[in-house]
């Protein structure tokens, strides 16, 4: 059987499983729609949170980015896991005790203000939308490569599947489908990683193979550093970003993780405060399996790639090279006419060009002719970072079913995250906006209908962005993290840990933190306000890391303003004392 048939079988089976679970657990009341009736065990919730959190970016892109960035890629590894420690220690237990459905609910009640609630709803919607568009794109890319359909059709199929279990099933459907999706995605990530680790180092665990040695007895990382030096790249284990930038990006990603609404809402689904703490631990444990294997996969893939292509005849290249050339994510031009592939430091394309443009012709050697190659750059090869995880099993010559499995895993990762985000969007609209502000006397049934309509509209908008993405999807994702860090995190933390924090301080902090971060990103990422040159960056901090500065400013402004304005009312101060004590959280969830 070939790769295509294996892909149909594995993707078909896993999809049947997800839909089956969604139908089996169809939601009845509004409470079940939002938070699974408060009856999910910490272990199941940990698995679901892990699937929710690990998106197409974690599964498909991250190992690829690290593979090209080396040490600099550590920002994603530490940033996206360290945030869980903040979440488990500073947020999850208290929000669970508070016992409402959403983050805007907490902000609105704690700061006794509809303005604060509205600011929070807008932040939640913005963060969730930017994220979900990227997931839909991920679904489309996987379909287009393995099923040989157009990206557009892939996105439409993904939209229909997501709609089914997010909109009809609600949160309960999502919790259990996400448990299934975690199992699929971790299996799909680890099987090829283990195969390749054994192949290259003899270690079964990729985490150990990462520090292991090849047949020649030289540690793999040393060999890779040597290869990098030979070809003119920065040493793999050193990286090239400045220390302050690495620090700020790591911090922004950590705090952003802790502030993401679709992850926070998961901790409302367990019965007790105790369970909220424990399920954050399980979630990080399950995430860590992938996150400690990913840098190993990155090193294996990088070494394999260089050793397979560098200084080898193009005509003797394995089949995956021409397969990926067909997708346009890999390109080669024989600039010096020796028939061999020169893979060296620096872009192969003309300055400022991000992807190859093909003329439609092929050369005598069989490669596709590229219109925008830079003839003066010594590097002849263009490789898109996003193909590394998908191409890795092919590069290592693994069996076809393993390659198909990776496709099924990529889809599980993208779909689980998309569904979780859609739920945040629909609850924000139906519950925080409709019920709390527009029509407080809406019936439970009416609210459920509003939530489903909102989810359906969100699927369609997300699908549109998936088919026709804005220019820089990666930039928009960085924006989502920076905004979550600069807006939600300080407001929630201060709401729990400072009894004196009042609405004036919190609102001013959120608006100024958010505004400053948006300004910086618009200026330096999109070049919309004045100079966007690297030399003008504040303290050399890149836009991806600026959410950290925005967060510090938010904290400072909130603390300062609250000192000059009246303290919060007595009942709010009592609420804060109440959420600090874990007992009694069970009552709210007795059906």
């Amino acid at each position: 059987m070939d790769i295509k048939i294996w892909t149909y079988i594995l993707v078909g089976l896993t999809f049947a499983l997800y839909i089956g679970i969604a139908i089996w657990s169809r939601a009845g009341s509004t409470k079940e729609f939002y938070v699974a009736g408060g009856g999910v065990s910490p272990l199941a919730n940990g698995l679901a949170t892990a699937a929710d959190w690990m998106s197409a970016a974690s599964f498909i892109s991250m190992a690829g980015i690290i593979s090209f960035a080396g040490y600099d890629g550590s920002v994603y590894l530490m940033g996206w896991t360290g945030g869980y420690v903040l979440l488990a220690l500073l947020l999850a237990p208290y929000l669970r005790k508070f016992g409402k459905f959403t983050v805007p609910d907490f902000i609105g009640d704690r700061y006794y203000s509809n303005v604060a609630r509205t600011v929070a709803v807008i932040c939640a919607l913005f963060v969730s939308f930017t994220y979900v568009a990227g997931q839909m794109r991920g679904v489309g890319v996987v379909f287009s490569r393995f099923l040989e359909v157009e990206v557009e059709l892939g996105v439409v199929i993904g939209m229909i599947i997501v709609f089914f279990y997010a909109v009809l099933g609600g949160m309960k459907g999502i919790t259990y489908t996400q448990v299934a999706q975690y199992c699929v995605l971790i299996f799909a990530f680890m099987v090829p990683a283990i195969f390749i680790s054994i192949q290259m180092t003899g270690h079964v665990l990729p985490q150990l193979g990462f520090g292991g040695s090849g047949a020649d007895g030289v540690p793999l990382l040393e060999r890779l550093d040597g290869l990098h030096e030979e070809l003119g790249f920065a040493a793999y284990t050193n990286g090239s970003k400045s220390m302050i930038d690495v620090f700020c990006i790591t911090a922004a990603l950590m705090v952003g993780t802790a502030g993401l609404p679709h992850v926070i809402v998961r901790f409302f689904t367990v019965p007790k405060v105790k369970d909220a703490r424990k399920s954050a631990g399980y979630a990080l444990l399950f995430i860590a399996i992938l996150y400690t294997a990913a840098p190993a996969v990155a090193v294996f893939a990088r070494t394999n790639l260089i050793e397979t292509v560098s200084q080898k005849e193009y005509t003797s290249m394995p089949a995956w090279v021409s397969n990926w050339e067909k997708t346009g994510l890999l390109a080669w031009e024989d600039k010096n006419g020796d028939g061999k592939v020169q893979y060296l430091s620096g872009s192969a394309l003309m300055p400022g060009q991000k992807k190859p443009e093909f003329t439609g012709d092929t050369t005598a050697l069989g490669n596709r002719v590229v219109a925008n190659m830079n003839p003066d750059a010594p590097n002849e090869l263009f490789v898109d970072r996003d193909i590394m995880v998908l191409a890795n099993p092919e590069i290592a010559k693994l069996p076809d079913w393993v390659i198909a499995l990776v496709a099924a895993g990529g889809l599980a990762a993208a779909l689980s995250t998309a569904a979780g985000l859609l739920l945040v969007i629909s609850t924000s609209v139906a519950h925080d906006f409709f019920k709390k502000q527009v029509k407080p006397d809406i019936s439970e049934k009416g609210e459920l209908i509003a939530a489903r309509v909102a989810a359906a509209v969100a699927v369609i908008i997300a699908g549109y962005f998936g088919i026709d993405p804005p220019d820089y999807v990666a930039a928009v994702v960085a924006l989502a993290f920076g905004l979550a860090a600069a807006s939600f995190f300080p407001a929630i933390v201060l709401g729990i840990f400072s009894k004196r924090m009042n609405k004036e301080g919190a609102i001013a902090g959120m608006i100024i933190g958010l505004g400053l971060t948006i300004f910086y990103i618009l200026k330096f990422k999109f070049g919309l306000i004045g100079s966007s040159s690297k030399a003008d960056l504040w303290f050399g901090i890149s836009p991806e890391g600026f959410g950290f500065v925005g967060m510090l400013v938010n904290f400072a402004v909130a603390l300062l303003i609250s000192r000059f304005t009246p303290p919060p009312p007595l009942e709010v101060q009592e609420l804060v004392e109440e959420i600090r004590l874990p007992s009694g959280a069970g009552e709210a969830h007795n059906h």
């Binding site: 869980y84 220690l89 292991g212 793999l220 040393e222 620090f247 790591t250 874990p582 007992s583």
Partner: protein, 84 residues
């Protein structure tokens, strides 16, 4: 639980947080970023130590930290009758 007890419970909680978050900061920001060059001079198996902290060690410690916190808080809850 009276006010005095609640205050003591909260202060014990804050002490745990300070200790655990200091370790959190140490393994990631200090070992993985600020002192990475110095630690890279030390070899751990096939890894440079600083690089290992940044791409492996910090993550393992993070997982442990949460489970230690769960264990500490369960004990504290029990002591103050908060585990109902």
């Amino acid at each position: 639980m009276d006010k005095q007890q609640a205050k003591k419970y909260w202060q014990a909680n804050l002490r745990y947080l300070v200790v655990l978050l200091s370790i959190w900061f140490l393994v990631s920001y200090v070992c993985g970023i600020l002192l990475v060059d110095q630690l890279n001079g030390i070899q751990l198996g096939g890894f440079k130590l600083g690089f290992w902290f940044a791409q492996q060690g910090a993550i393992y410690v993070f997982v442990l930290l949460i489970f230690v916190y769960v264990w500490l808080m369960n004990k504290l809850d029990h002591k103050y009758g908060q585990d109902a």
